[in-house]
């Protein structure tokens, strides 16, 4: 029963935490992600995206800043279209906290050996020879699913939308925010 409660809280902490409290906690995780990501060569170059590349501290924070701004702004605009009664601070706070699972990948990056890119171009299957890299890829799948679940619950609770309206609005908003973040990162970083 207790495990079920913990799992429920990890999947949807927003019934208890939202607004400024969620924003403060989320910002702490995001800053930590940016710092660790810069040193473990993990770049969050998209709202729900991660790649293992050599990046500077500035790049790491620029990527995360663009991700967060795109996610918050797109979800907020979507909220304005489909909902009437919600606060911007709830969107900002819950969306920031929803990025927290990616911290696991920043940490995992320290234990991952990056395969040589030129070698990968010659033979893509070489990546399977790096066990740590395969583990990182395997870990990234549940982490991304966890983060998407959090973004979904953040949107649902912040904007009070239900049913098919929620599902359709969420899918469109997530895809738009991912595409927008990719374009902005490509143009400005």
């Amino acid at each position: 029963m207790k495990n079920k409660n913990v799992f429920g809280f990890l999947m949807n902490p927003f019934t208890r935490i939202a607004g400024w409290q969620a924003f403060g906690l989320g910002l702490f995780f995001v800053v930590l992600m940016g710092l660790l990501g810069a040193y473990s060569d993990i770049a969050f170059d998209g709202v729900i995206d991660m790649h293992m590349i050599d990046i500077s501290l500035l790049q790491s924070f620029l990527y995360l800043g663009i991700d967060l701004v795109c996610l918050v702004v797109v979800m907020w605009i979507t909220g304005l279209i489909v909902s009437t009664n919600f606060r911007f601070i709830d969107i900002l706070g819950t969306m920031t906290l929803a990025k927290a699972p990616f911290l696991l990948l920043s940490i995992a990056g320290f234990f991952t050996a990056t395969p040589d890119l030129s070698e990968i171009y010659k033979n893509p299957y070489i990546i399977f020879q790096s066990v740590s890299f395969v583990i990182l890829i395997a870990l990234s799948i549940p982490v991304i699913i966890w983060s998407i679940t959090l973004i979904y619950n953040a949107f649902k609770i912040s904007c009070d939308i239900k049913g098919s309206k929620l599902t359709v609005a969420f899918i469109i908003a997530l895809l738009v925010s991912e595409a927008l973040s990719k374009v902005l990162i490509y143009l400005f970083v």
Partner: protein
């Protein structure tokens, strides 16, 4: 908790008789239940809490250990139920 629906066919119940416990007078008729009485016990408790907190959702959120939007969503659900009860009357 006041029963509001028929245990046999689940139709909405009406008040047929009210009795004065002081003199024993009975008032008979067919009266609709107040809309608030149709809400669940949890919803009624929520409304009581809302009134006692002077309508402050922030205060309620801290008392109930829930986030502000969660409490606001609970209120929205109750408003939606009240609206649907009123239109069905």
């Amino acid at each position: 908790m006041l029963p509001t629906y028929c245990p046999s066919c689940h139709a909405q119940l009406k008040v047929e008789c009210l009795k004065c416990e002081s003199c024993g007078t009975e008032v008979n008729g067919s009266y609709d239940l107040p809309v608030l009485a149709l809400l669940s016990e949890d919803d009624q408790q929520f409304i009581l809490r809302f009134v006692k907190n002077s309508g402050s959702l922030k205060e309620m959120a801290s008392q109930m250990k829930l986030s502000y939007p969660t409490v606001r969503n609970l209120l929205n659900d109750i408003i939606h139920k009240i609206n649907s009860y009123e239109t069905s009357l």
